[in-house]
Symmetry: C2
Subunit: 262 residues, 2 copies
């Protein structure tokens, strides 16, 4: 039982949570909370370390179930709630903090490709990943300048989508353009576009590009897109949150794919 | 020119930002940043106080335009950037912090009614308000237990929607049910519902109920609803962020209203 908050594992977890370079060097992601850790295990994530406080996990049904799994794992070590709190970034880590290897790139499958360009807010990127996974997006490509996919805030907002999606990051536009070469339609979300998102045909192989919160799409994104699409609005709002805009479009794509275009 | 961070206005703004009871007593809302303050003025909000740092506003086109308006207002007082920073909650207040009276309830107009039940996260509520305004929702009714509509985080996430929407809060379910009596369809978003949201008819007078992030809909919400609707998903995600789910449904409603149902 780890009882000292000065334990090297605590320091290791905290420095991985804080430092993108270290995450990249070790290719590890920090998972906090019962739901994220259980979800990672359910999707065959490779955990390298888990610190858990049995007395905290025992207070919920999900916690008890996770405890049984952790007690069988050689990577898991019991610790006091104080140690968990010291290792965690969240206020309520629910008795478990873990490290998992970055998922391997999932084999390509047919479906919509989501391209995320320079989205800066971790909550927005995490929400986009969660929605992408929910609509069955085939892969997510993040360009250089996008917030780190494995930053703890992104991971928490994505609610485990990382382990169920193929996500790549730090891609140059030349690389992205190459990946989209065989795609029929590359739609880019642009507040000024006249074509409504629901007039686009999402039933063919296609991609959606969403841009930066403040600056919108780059010239390279516009060059790569085959059509700009907008979300018609009734109020006097100028724009939508990028995660909301991306989600609205992705769910329309899923609606067309399951019900047919109209 | 206010140069002391101990100025009573600074203390007043901070206590309004921190204290829901004081906001309710004075019926005031704190606005930070050029965009929110300019937007409030553009929608005839009644500002009672604005502290602004001319040297900061002069650095952007929007700031210069706002500066010209503020210099004509008797409610506005120049201050140092240090004073603005002391009064503001955000890291980058952009040279302006203001107080505005809560908007009067806008006259009822036809359209969709959004009922928000016990949403706890200020970012989620603000995002819902922003989407509601964007699709032309007629009114928003928040039940008792929902995070304060005028909390600074909600106001920032809503991006000025407060001044363009009719929003009421602290409503009991009996009151909400009364308001919905003349509405043909009251749809409630429920992860377990079998009727897809896009199979619902949003062209008639209707309402959408969205529930709490963790606990979903209450029994009273279910009793008030005429149909439960869900958002079909392809991945293994169990649920969506409530702001995303509400936005996806509201934009489908707008799509039907402008293109016809399919």
């Amino acid at each position: 039982m780890i009882i000292s908050t000065a334990n090297p594992h605590v320091k290791h977890i905290r420095s991985l949570a804080a430092d993108r370079k270290e995450r990249r060097r070790e290719r590890l992601v920090v998972l906090e909370g019962v739901r994220l850790v259980a979800d990672a295990l359910a999707h065959d994530a490779q955990l390298t370390l888990a610190l858990y406080a049995p007395e905290q996990l025992e207070t919920t049904t999900e916690g008890v179930s996770l405890l049984e799994q952790l007690e069988q794992g050689t990577f898991a070590q019991p610790a006091t709630p104080q140690v968990i709190a010291a290792a965690a970034e969240t206020v309520h880590p629910q008795g478990v903090v873990a490290l998992a290897r970055w998922p391997e790139r999932v084999a390509e499958r047919p479906g919509i490709i989501l391209v995320v360009e320079a989205t800066q807010d971790p909550g927005n990127l995490g929400t986009l990943l969660r929605s992408a996974e929910a609509v069955g997006v085939a892969q997510v490509l993040c360009t250089v300048g996008t917030v780190d996919v494995y930053s703890p805030k992104v991971v928490r907002a994505a609610m485990g989508a990382h382990f169920r999606l193929s996500v790549e990051q730090d891609l140059a536009w030349e690389e992205v353009a190459g990946r989209l070469a065989s795609v029929d339609h590359v739609y880019a979300a642009d507040a000024g576009a006249t074509m409504p998102y629901h007039a686009a045909d999402w039933r063919q192989p296609c991609a959606l590009i969403v841009g930066n919160e403040a600056h919108g799409l780059s010239g390279q994104a516009r060059d790569t897109a085959t059509r700009m699409i907008g979300i018609p609005m009734q109020g006097s709002a100028e724009s939508l949150n990028v995660a909301v805009a991306g989600s609205v479009i992705l769910f329309e794509a899923l609606r067309q794919r399951t019900r047919g275009r109209t």
